[in-house]
């Protein structure tokens, strides 16, 4: 049995590292927060972890488009390894090949998509979908309802049904490069979460679908289910007092976000 060890990356505008690490710990993982400078300098190494977490934020201020410059940074960045330089990309793929998990939330999801790490259908880093400006043209902070795809291979959403998280983004509109890409994603059930109305119907209507995402797609996984990214913030709902209506509804102590982290921890322990 392996101990789940999360590496939560921060720096250059990432800003949800603390609550992300907190969620990991609540789910029973060990979690370290590391500034990306320490990863590039080799002081922190991916090989010591089995869960890599790209949290939300504003990598490089979203200049050039959300997470775009960040994607260049990670794709072309070099890490110091055993005295010489290795590509960060190779370290990352090494973690994936070893059976590790990768989660990207919001800006982290945008980063994974733009690096080509999701949906990762061909098993190589190539961008095939994107996340564009919300139809509203605005950044918005509002809570959204999500339906979980029960047949998705995603290990994070196993056993989850309806979720309720906040979105906090200006660029979350899912767009595929082509209809073929979209069909392949749908056929392989790589959409673990979709926006719904409060009644649970999948929707393209604002504000329930907050950005105009095609097919109401709120998140994506890869065919192994071990790589997962989503626009809404699960780490923002791990305790009932984070729910916008906790003062008027009877809610369990634990928030609906925690299940994703618990599933990840459980998967790592079992694998």
């Amino acid at each position: 049995m392996r101990t789940p060890k999360a590496l939560v990356i921060t720096g250059n505008g990432i800003n949800t590292e603390r609550e992300s690490a907190h969620a990991c710990r609540l789910a029973g993982m060990e979690a370290d927060i590391a500034h990306m400078a320490l990863i590039f300098s080799g002081e922190v190494q991916l090989k010591d972890y089995n869960f890599l977490y790209f949290p939300g934020g504003f990598l490089d201020g979203d200049d050039l488009g959300s997470a775009k410059a960040g994607a260049v940074r990670f794709k072309y960045g070099k890490v110091v390894k055993e005295g010489s330089k290795a590509r960060f990309e190779d370290e990352l793929l090494g973690l994936v090949e070893r059976g590790g998990l990768v989660l990207g939330v919001c800006n982290g999801f945008q980063l994974m998509v733009k690096m080509g790490l999701l949906p990762f259908m061909e098993g190589k880093l190539k961008q095939s979908v994107s996340l564009s400006h919300n139809d509203s043209g605005r950044f918005e902070d509002r809570w959204v309802y999500l339906a979980v795809e029960p047949d998705s291979p995603c290990v994070f959403t196993r056993g989850a049904e309806n979720l309720y998280y906040p979105v906090r983004h200006g660029e979350g509109k899912f767009i595929p490069s082509s209809n073929e890409t979209l069909s392949a994603i749908e056929a392989q059930k790589l959409v673990p979460v979709r926006y719904t109305t409060p009644k649970g119907e999948i929707t393209s209507e604002y504000p329930w679908n907050p950005n105009g995402s095609v097919n109401a797609i709120a998140g994506l996984c890869d065919p192994t289910g071990r790589l997962f990214g989503l626009m809404p913030h699960p780490e923002a709902f791990v305790h009932r007092t984070q729910h916008p209506r906790w003062t008027r509804e009877d809610l369990p102590e634990e928030g609906l976000g925690l299940i994703l982290y618990k599933n990840a921890a459980e998967y790592i322990r079992q694998s």
């Binding site: 940074r73 072309y76 605005r138 906090r168 916008p244 003062t247």
Partner: protein, 999 residues
């Protein structure tokens, strides 16, 4: 030769930026168009091969799925073949270009080589406009009136023919050129008083004749002359470095001259009182009294002496809070001004004590009506542009910094046309103990090195401090405008927290107004001196004169004292984290601020003179109570209609369209959010946050602002805003046991002069406001811990003068013992009992209701702190005991508005008999519904808790007035038990939500 990459949204996809522009051009400028599409242009001012350029276009500058790119310069024609005009907007030389900076870093990553500082990427935006009937001058109007700000941007317009003929837009590089050689000038002050004033005016020094004379006299003293001669300085006259340094340090902005003036105050009865410093007497005086009263329970740790006030939080952390204004820059460039306002105030807690971790932001704006239709006086921007620019600036500054924006207000009054007010605040947590000492104290020692870290210095922001110490006039400098860079600051902040925890520095402060002259000048006071080599400062571009380096207010910079033994580790960490840091000198105990350039002394100012040489101002104030016309109208028959109308008033209606643009939940600590209730859209009274995710202790913050009451008496305005902020905090579960206040005064010039003939009255308003601040903070036992004043909020060009109404923003911060006991404002369940707490009097002077009818009146609400305190204490306990289902503050629009908001936020109805409410002298139903008496709440309580709740409220004024019903209908009966309001709550909510929904 510069190269260009153009990038656009794939033409098959929507271009939301283009659509937004088209909409705004129609709405604002009333210019009909057939369409707008946009593209981004990147101008690369360095050598790249064609192959590299193609790779950059694909890999760095564009998203292959949703964008198209071109290096051919004519992408516009490809993506929008039918466009008629092209407008390209780029930055002026020297203006911060954040996206360009990021682009350069990404280019360096891809090319695997680093580029020298001056080789840059510049960004610009092309607007492709279709409109066959458009003339060049109309496009010019679109540029100047909406899409560009000439203070920071420049533009080019090409007709379609010109575009085709020139093969697109030729790259134009906004490099800073015409560099002058840095020089130091000497200034002769042995001139007439008029000439002294002229020197001050021309140099934007904002010093008075008396102050200029004090400077001159310093250079007349023989012992000073001898010392200066020995240092190689002109013996009997200042260098420009020295004069600028003095002007910054002595500015109203930095020195608060009016608050420290000696004032002769005459009241309405002719009684004269001499006040030696409003600040010392009423503000520091209030805190001193409260702390004495608190005795051993005093939770203040550091008040007034640092960048932010500090109070205790728990055993491990203390809490600091600061609110600033950024009014003048926001008037000239709303986006840049507000952005700089928020990232600027972030640096205050960052530079408090040994530095804090930032936990939330608050923002309050005062604007003129965004739907203003009349002609605007020269140099003023339309309030709708100010609104949009300020809201967006704060959005970018706060969101990109990863700090939740949890509380704020927007207040509308047409006098804010002259200057908008932009209040930005930030709170932080400081470890109680840090490397063996209290985290809230600085520990600079002589011999520590002066380090500047973060951004570089440019000419931006020069004279910000002196500029904001004047009214907005024709010559107001464009260099006072600048753009913030939240990401450079975030990197700096991430780095500093690590350096702090490793104990690498001994002191830290921010560079704000006055730049290095203020930050190092102030830090030098701790050790008794500093030596600063101005030539070592990293510059954005060459050619800055030494005085410019000293006073530039370029953003994102902190000044840090680093002990010599730690410097290598400090610099190595900075380099690794890509933060620029440079050693500029050292702290000394030689008693002076010593300025050098290339090893040569260019300024030497004894600290005693720099900090205490300013002669105090002598001012006169005379209070003559104004008399406003008393309303004479009869009580309207249709009070339902009146209530519906009030809910749609700008000062009452929902601000959700703004608030949703702010991330209020990042960091995971949001407990009482800005919007609550059944549909997440009811207006919270205050915010509760939980900064430590493994603890249930929390922080409450709230505010009070109500400039309208100043028209009657600034004394009661102040009493009311203090009461309102405290009341809001109590409403969500705060406690008077652990609450601290911040005062932010924004006044119109209160110094009598030719320009301000009514200065005595305006100063009397300030005196009265300060007296009330003392009275009410001491009565409630809420210590003031920090604050700021901005005293020149006037506009004066040509014959037009607009003065803002005297405004005090009172903010509170406090500790909540258990966040799980917090209460929100929305009615919860059918059958819950509705109570009114606090007494209603016929106090409609300055109310929203009378304002809607065109009256101010005179019966301003008065605050009974003794009765209120007893009530607040009782309510605090009832909330802690879990007896309260909902609690809503009652202020603008009175009981009618408070009950309506509570009920519609719960998607419920109510049946209320207001004849039962505690009243005194109320004889009309409109008074009953809309009076704005202080100290009141609308509370709902579950029926089984009725007895306990009523027992806890004890002898305070309160009454059971009705119950929550289903069916979404609001029924209110009046004084004679007659029905005065009967309507669907959905309609009320719609009236409340509509006015600003589309903005």
């Amino acid at each position: 030769m510069a190269k260009r990459v153009e990038v656009a949204v794939n033409p098959e996809l929507r271009d939301s930026r283009g659509e937004g522009c088209a909409r705004e051009i129609e709405e604002f400028l009333h210019i009909p168009l057939e369409g707008v599409r946009t593209l981004d242009a990147f101008t690369l001012d360095f050598e790249v091969t064609d192959g590299e350029l193609a790779a950059l276009a694909k890999e760095v500058f564009s998203d292959p799925v949703i964008q198209v790119s071109s290096t051919g310069g004519m992408l516009g024609a490809e993506i929008f073949p039918s466009f008629d005009w092209l407008l390209e907007v780029g930055y002026l030389p020297g203006v911060t270009d954040n996206e360009g900076r990021t682009a350069k870093e990404a280019v360096e990553m891809l090319l695997e080589r680093s580029l020298p500082h001056q080789e840059k990427v510049y960004t610009s935006v092309q607007y492709l406009i279709k409109g066959s009937s458009l003339e060049r001058e109309t496009v010019e109007k679109i540029a100047a009136g909406l899409l560009a700000n000439p203070l920071i941007q420049r533009w080019r317009i090409l007709s379609r023919e010109e575009y085709e003929a020139s093969g697109g837009v030729s790259p134009e590089v906004p490099r800073v050129t015409g560099v002058s050689k840095p020089i130091v000038n000497e200034i002769d002050l042995e001139v007439s008083d008029e000439e002294l004033l002229e020197i001050s005016k021309k140099g934007l020094l904002a010093l008075t004749v008396g102050e200029m004379q004090a400077v001159r006299d310093f250079y007349r003293e023989e012992q000073n002359q001898a010392k200066r001669a020995a240092l190689g300085l002109p013996a009997d006259k200042p260098t420009d470095v020295e004069l600028e340094c003095l002007a910054q340090t002595w500015s109203e902005h930095c020195k608060h001259k009016i608050f420290n003036a000696t004032i002769n105050y005459e009241d309405e009865g002719g009684n004269v009182e001499v006040i030696t410093s409003i600040f010392k007497t009423y503000i520091q005086g209030a805190t001193k009294k409260v702390r004495e009263d608190l005795g051993e329970d005093d939770y203040c740790l550091s008040v007034f002496i640092d960048n932010a006030g500090v109070i205790a939080f728990d055993d491990d952390y203390s809490l600091c809070f600061k609110v600033e204004t950024h009014n003048s820059p926001s008037a000239l460039d709303p986006y840049g001004g507000a952005l700089t306002g928020i990232v600027g105030v972030n640096r205050d807690p960052m530079g408090t004590g040994m530095g804090s971790q930032l936990i939330f932001n608050v923002d309050t704006f005062c604007f003129a009506n965004p739907f203003h239709e009349e002609e605007l006086p020269p140099r003023l921007l339309h309030p709708r542009r100010i609104y949009e620019g300020v809201v967006t600036g704060v959005e970018h500054g706060g969101n990109k910094s990863g700090i939740p924006t949890v509380n704020g207000t927007v207040y509308f009054d047409d006098r804010f046309l002259g200057k908008p007010l932009v209040f930005c605040g930030t709170a932080g947590l400081i470890p109680r103990t840090l490397n063996g000492g209290p985290g809230h104290n600085k520990r600079t020692k002589a011999g520590d090195l002066v380090v500047m870290a973060g951004g570089r210095i440019g000419k931006d922001g020069i004279h910000g401090a002196t500029f904001s110490s004047e009214e907005l006039h024709e010559g107001s400098p464009a260099t006072a405008v600048q753009l913030g860079d939240p990401i450079t600051q975030k990197r700096l902040y991430d780095f500093l927290l690590i350096a702090r925890d490793r104990g690498l520095y001994s002191s830290i402060t921010d560079n704000g107004a006055g730049g290095l002259s203020s930050s190092i000048g102030e830090m030098a006071e701790q050790t008794g001196g500093a030596r600063l080599n101005l030539d070592r400062a990293p510059l954005k571009y060459p050619g800055l004169h030494p005085w410019e380096i000293l006073v530039s207010e370029s953003q994102e910079r902190m000044s840090i004292a680093v002990p010599e033994e730690n410097i290598d580790e400090f610099m190595a960490l900075a380099e690794k984290m890509r933060v620029e840091a440079v050693v500029m000198g050292e702290f000394t105990d030689e008693g002076a601020f010593h300025l050098l350039y290339d090893g040569k002394t260019v300024g030497y100012l004894p600290l005693e003179f720099l900090h205490d040489g300013l002669p105090p101002m002598l001012l006169n104030a005379k209070w003559t109570p104004p008399q406003h016309e008393e309303p004479t109208f009869e009580c309207p028959n249709d009070l339902t209609g009146e209530l519906t109308g009030l809910l749609g008033r700008l000062n009452i209606c929902s601000k959700e369209s703004i608030v949703r643009r702010y991330d209020h939940e990042v960091q995971g600590g949001s407990v009482i959010k800005p919007f609550v209730g059944a549909q997440n859209d009811g207006p919270s009274d205050a915010a509760v946050n939980r900064p430590l995710l493994d603890s249930f202790e929390g922080v409450v913050t709230a505010n009070g602002i109500s400039p309208r009451y100043s028209d009657i008496d600034a004394y009661w305005m102040t009493a009311l805003v203090v009461d309102e902020a405290i009341r809001n905090a109590i409403a969500v579960g705060g406690t008077l046991d652990h609450l601290a206040g911040l005062d932010n005064f924004c006044w119109c010039d209160p110094v009598e002069s030719e320009k301000t003939p009514d200065g005595r009255y305006k100063l009397a308003q300030l005196v009265r406001s300060s007296k009330a601040l003392y009275e009410y903070t001491t009565a409630y036992g809420v210590p003031l811990v920090s604050g700021k004043d901005s005293m020149k909020n006037d506009y004066s060009i040509g014959g037009t003068k607009i003065s803002i109404p005297p405004t005090l923003l009172f903010s509170v911060i406090g500790k909540v013992p258990d966040i799980r006991k917090s209460v929100s404002m929305d009615a919860k369940r059918v059958g819950d009992l509705i109570y009114v707490l606090g007494k209603t009097l016929p106090e409609l002077g300055g109310s929203e209701y009378w304002a809607a009818k065109g009256y101010t009146g005179n019966s301003v609400p008065k605050v009974d702190a003794v009765a209120n305190k007893e009530l607040y204490r009782a309510l605090e306990k009832a909330i802690q005991d879990g007896l309260v289902a909902s609690c809503h503050d009652c202020s603008d629009g009175g009981l009618g508005v408070a009950i309506a908001e509570s009920v519609f936020s719960g998607d419920l109805g109510a049946s209320v008999d207001l004849s039962k409410a505690p009243i005194d002298g109320v004889v009309r139903n409109d008074e009953l519904l809309f009076s704005e008496s202080a100290g009141r709440f609308v509370v709902t309580v579950s029926p089984e808790k009725k007895a306990s709740f009523e027992a806890e409220m004890g002898g305070s004024a309160f009454a059971l007035v009705g119950e929550v019903t289903e069916g979404e209908k609001l029924i209110i009966d009046g004084l004679g038990k007659e029905r005065i309001v009967e309507t669907g709550t959905v309609a009320l909510k719609e009236a409340w939500q509509t006015p600003l929904a589309a903005l």
